[in-house]
Symmetry: D2
Subunit: 348 residues, 4 copies
């Protein structure tokens, strides 16, 4: 019998992608979908792409409505999950796609988010290799509280962690610039997210170290072995529906060869089902990850600039959010890690 | 009486934009348009947007067809302008939009382009301030051989030169990542430039220091005062018709404040008609530069990462190519520098 | 001395395009820009593409603020211009880009718009040829109250009026389907106008004869000579910043040849500066009209289906709105009709 | 044990989508992939989105290489499948995504395609209801030669056939205008398919009844009961990766009500798994069908214009090509019709 599932925040983009993945998952059955303002509406009115779930109606996002399910996925605005989760039984698997339970450092939380600090949960990036060789996936087995990573964080962590763990680059002068789709910003009605503003245009935001994903990246790279992490992080909105293409660079440690670098990534990802290292001289494009749980990674060593350049591509809503949540839930429940997920993108 | 003008390479994107600007210029009259394969066709068949020039027919790109004009603009593939220019009179103003005459260093030419080296011409980036305070515009007055800069080069040079000249950043650890429109790659029929491949996708190319614009950036920043320039440069193709959004970062020199940085840029650009420094906390978008000769620049100091972040936006075909060529021609001929050019973008 | 100009509704897309055109116009000087909610803000904050007008500040949209100018352009929501215009002097040229003064039929107004009916003004589509051969431009000379046409209306009227006037098609079974850019819907914060919703998607709206532009099209085609007009009209939102591509079809009258049809359009547009008939077998694309006041028209006779197919392309904000307003103002004031306007599009 | 499958023409867009669907299909196993020029290359080099098939290498498209499979899908240029199929055993299920076996009328073939006529196969549009009530799906059971429909044809047939079969509209004055993605035109290197040409632009092609899909539409609507079919058909290229939005209109028969129309469509599609009729007043968008085998249909009755307007949306590569092929193969083989297919789109 499939696990019964509730999705809170089912009217947004992350919620919609969760539902798309769950609808195709052999072991899950979506019973309940919740929303704030849109409660009472048929799900199909908000997620017209989800024809197979047209029978569902959005109910209000309350703890009561989330009780009685084996698994609860939260796709709520930051700051909303703490109070709700407190009322869910310990044995319910709760996967939070929001930021509330990602950061271990209360000071970082206070500086970048503010409001009550609810503490960190098990972190839903199975491919993160700790400095001691532990894979993060091992910490998710049997877990009942999981925080899915931020989408930009995933793109950058997967790009840089292997090099840092292997000691082939310095961690104190990292630079990441990301081409990102506006769906990462959700359905909020903000002028700069209008189609007329975004189509045909590229623009940076959160420039200068103020983006909320910075402390989460630092946290991950410390897990991978960095004593100290300094990163210049700039996301650039570009006109595409989905996708993150992160260009991350780091200063090479002296004497490191291109072969050393590649070996570090092969060690990290050779057996990963969802992280694929591209051959020498090839670099990914986001289109190839659309709808897939795949992260694609290309490497270049720039001897003149003395820098490693890593280009990583993910679908911000899939591997960047909902896919990571489902993958982590699979692990937590003892299901095959790849259940209900694909590595094949919808391209062109 | 207007200057008579010929445009060689009139069937491509750079040629088309040159013609659009020249058609609106009060002091120029386009008499001749040339092409290689498309010779014999009406211009309007290749540039259907140029209704006011529908009377022109493309003739073959030969020195003979370019003789007898006051001004010749070359928008040819790299390596094609040397032989042609050799046969044009010294008094003809020749502005080359290709790379043939940009680099002063024959070794750099050989490494990144190859083929015969034709030597550098006066460099068509009027706003470049030399380490001794000379503005590049002063070197263009009366010139008859001008090399217009590469589009990515313009975006990065304008972003970084003031900081380097003022000594507020180091020049040995620069990182630039650019969101670029595919029109910069021209009309060549290459699979990765197909609409189905590019729409909805972002992808990096020329990764790892191999892009031809690297030595030109280094050359410019040395002019601005850098003893040595090391730059990691990665262009990312994004689905928009025009535009470059460059995110450039540099390590701050010790003790430098945000005010010091801003002062350096104000000194450089306060009186520039085409380079506009945005207020604190604002960053440009490429849409605002479409069709305009404008470069927009936003600054942020990231104290945590100890880096200056400069975001610059240009239209790759306008200020990035054809606009710079016209602006430089204006200066060379003693016309108002802004003649036939606008600072207002076509947005949305 | 240039005419002094005020633009009411300067923070929207139509207002922005008006200002872009006016800034480049040799005979106009923008003195005043007004807005509702955005009053008090610098214009550049709302129209960051208009660098040459960065000195202007938005003031409130009131009759008092619009007094004392030679020309007032109104780019206001429907229903807002009547009360304001009533307080402006008769000798002020007022050009309304809204719908308030387009319809002559109060019943049609009541059905499609509702609210107070303010009566029709001189209609700003200079190229409309009346059944008696009068050109609409002649009715604009010396006028002081002009209503600029709806954008979709312009695309369809220019496509169908010549055939109707010449009697080569029936007017009772017209079908027009338009690919339209979302900028026509303005900056309103509506969910379906978000970039994530629109990019990569096409969708119809106003289906089934309910769109407000239907009665205006009918009115124009009656002016061109139709006794009765029946039109099926469907706009389709597509992911581009600007542009309308209208495909309009009409049943051919018996015995009409392709040559008869072409002759009708040549008679109508041979001398028009802004309407260009493409050669046999060629059809326009919207990119070629971006930023231009051009309408491009292609014709095909489908003998199997017994229908004329007319494909017309305009920039919805230029010839579709602001360009038509400036063109009409030029005529009204006795300026060259093409002053400040271009036929050359910004492409690619 | 899964059926062994070969895909011929695996390097194109239709081939890629076939492979994406087949890779997720529980009953098929892709053993062989073929190509013409790209033979010898790894599949992943041509279809970088298909990570799960990275072990496959393209072999040459020859009959020999296609022998020995249970199912062969052909995604070849028009005119290429006849000779190949002639050499495949009768018991092999062959599904042709090309046009070679769609038309029953040799005259129509000669006029619109030319070259040798190979005769029609069973037509792979299971939802087509014949005038006598037969559903096309019933004719596919046990079949071994199936022609998948043209993508535009599917969008229009599904939109118009129910009304024609029910006799609520006339079939002699149909008009369809489609917003179509360029992926329908394949990977051919043609100038007008370059991203710089297509992004930000809409353009019509095949105008005036010359498009090859016209006779196939006529054929289908005759099957649905039309004595004679006259249709004006215009496809409009718009800047999106996938999707067709067809706006189809037909003159209502006298006395027909909106309820009559809706009843006709409900009768046709109430039990269809992949064709969904939207509620009154709702119209589809292509984004909701991306990657899905869904066709979404919205209806409006325009009493003023006396026309039915049907808006239909499909993914041109999925339900429009590869999805229809897999769906038909499912039926032919006695598998569940929905096996390996989804109704949920990848949106945003």
């Amino acid at each position: 019998m499939p696990y019964s599932v509730a999705v809170a925040g089912a009217s947004g983009y992350a919620g919609g992608e969760l539902l798309r993945l769950l609808a195709a998952h052999p072991d899950f059955e979506v019973r309940t979908v919740t929303a704030f303002q849109n409660a009472g509406q048929p799900l199909i009115a908000l997620q017209p792409q989800l024809r197979s779930l047209a029978h569902l109606t959005l109910v209000e996002t309350t703890p009561a409505n989330l009780l009685g399910h084996d698994v609860v996925f939260l796709a709520l605005p930051h700051g909303k999950s703490g109070a709700i989760t407190a009322e869910l039984p310990r044995e319910t698997l709760v996967v939070d796609c929001g930021a509330d339970h990602r950061l271990t450092d209360e000071t970082a939380w206070a500086r970048f988010y503010g409001g009550e600090f609810h503490g960190a949960w098990a972190y839903g990036l199975p491919e993160l290799v700790h400095s001691d060789g532990t894979r993060q996936r091992d910490l998710l087995v049997g877990e009942r509280r999981i925080a899915a990573p931020g989408c930009n964080v995933t793109a950058i962590t997967l790009a840089l962690a292997p090099a840092i763990r292997a000691g082939v680059v310095q961690s104190t002068d990292l630079v990441s610039v990301l081409a990102v789709a506006p769906s990462g910003a959700g359905k909020a009605l903000k002028p700069h997210l209008l189609a007329s503003e975004l189509m045909g245009s590229a623009s940076a935001y959160g420039v200068g170290g103020v983006h909320r994903h910075v402390p989460e990246i630092q946290q991950n790279l410390r897990v991978a072995g960095a004593a100290q992490v300094s990163i210049s992080f700039t996301p650039v909105l570009v006109p595409m529906s989905r996708g993150i293409l992160a260009t991350s660079t780091a200063t090479l440690e002296p004497g490191v060869s291109a072969g050393d670098v590649r070996a570090a990534y092969e060690a990290a990802y050779a057996n990963e089902p969802f992280v694929h290292l591209l051959p020498e001289g090839e670099f990914p494009r986001t289109a190839d990850t659309v709808g897939a749980n795949t992260a694609l990674i290309g490497l270049a060593v720039d001897s003149d600039a003395d820098r490693l350049v890593v280009v990583s591509a993910i679908d911000n809503l899939a591997k960047g959010t909902a896919g990571a949540a489902v993958q982590s839930a699979n692990i937590a429940l003892g299901l095959p890690e790849t259940a209900g997920l694909t590595v094949n993108g919808v391209a062109p």
